[in-house]
């Protein structure tokens, strides 16, 4: 199991997207949420690889959703964050905030 402060950027983004779309987050909606907010578009394979990893860590759980005609009759797989996932995300973001605190980035590299 990954330590709480070892979440990668994509893992943080995915967990935040899942929280934003609770309780109906699934592959396409998570990808679209990240793209809309960051401009970065991950391929669905990357999304699912990360989701699988997070699920193995016990940070998210999945459940089957409804099947629709536009999906060729296939069911969606909805993801929700667990308590462990929320705790890991908070710790990870807190680490980043602590590093950023009091630092003026604007003009720092000029």
């Amino acid at each position: 199991v990954a330590k709480s402060d070892e979440l990668t950027l994509i893992e943080q983004q995915m967990l935040l997207a899942i929280i934003r779309q609770h309780p109906i987050a699934y592959g396409v909606s998570i990808r679209d949420e990240i793209k809309a907010r960051t401009g970065k578009e991950y391929p669905l394979g990357s999304i699912y690889a990360v989701l699988e990893r997070l699920e193995n860590y016990g940070m998210v759980v999945s459940r089957e959703g409804e099947a629709t005609a536009v999906r060729g009759g296939r069911k969606k797989l909805h993801f929700t964050i667990t308590g462990a996932g929320r705790k890991a995300l908070e710790a990870s973001l807190a680490t980043m905030d602590a590093m950023r605190k009091g630092l003026k980035l604007k003009g720092a590299f000029a």
Binding site: L44, S46, R53, R71, R74, K75
Partner: protein, 173 residues
Amino acid sequence: VSIDSNNRPRDFPPISEFFLREIVVAPPLPLWDASIKEIKERLIEGDLDNSTTVLDFVITPGQNATFHIFEQRLLDIMEKKAIEKKASPKTVDPPRIAETLVSVCLPKRRRDAILGDLDEDFQNRLASGMTLARARRLYWGDALHSIGPLLLAMAKRIGLIGVLADYARRFLH
């Protein structure tokens, strides 16, 4: 169909897509024939299957009201079908070979979800006006991109299992 004192139908049977079977007209009805023909033409225009439509009750002389109500209900159904047809455009199948490739490469627990997501993207692109050829090319690209990271993750997992198995073998011997 029973008719009330005002020559209006009582307990008019509900008309639904499943209920409609065929028009039975009691002869001889030249006037009605013309109307039936007109209805049949409208049915074809409305994209209802002419061979499996219209009613399973008998239209007889004197049931003017019945016929008009029937016609009105028929038009309602046609209108509803036209709205449904507009709301849900006919879906096109994504490239079969790419789909099969994804099916073969992915673990079963993720297969349906990813194929469904790829299909959803494909249909959304077509609905947004993209050409079929371009949508198919993008589907191929997405399919190949989808397989890569998951196969890599699988290889890493198998690799770790291999290292552990090797360690266990050394420990036991």
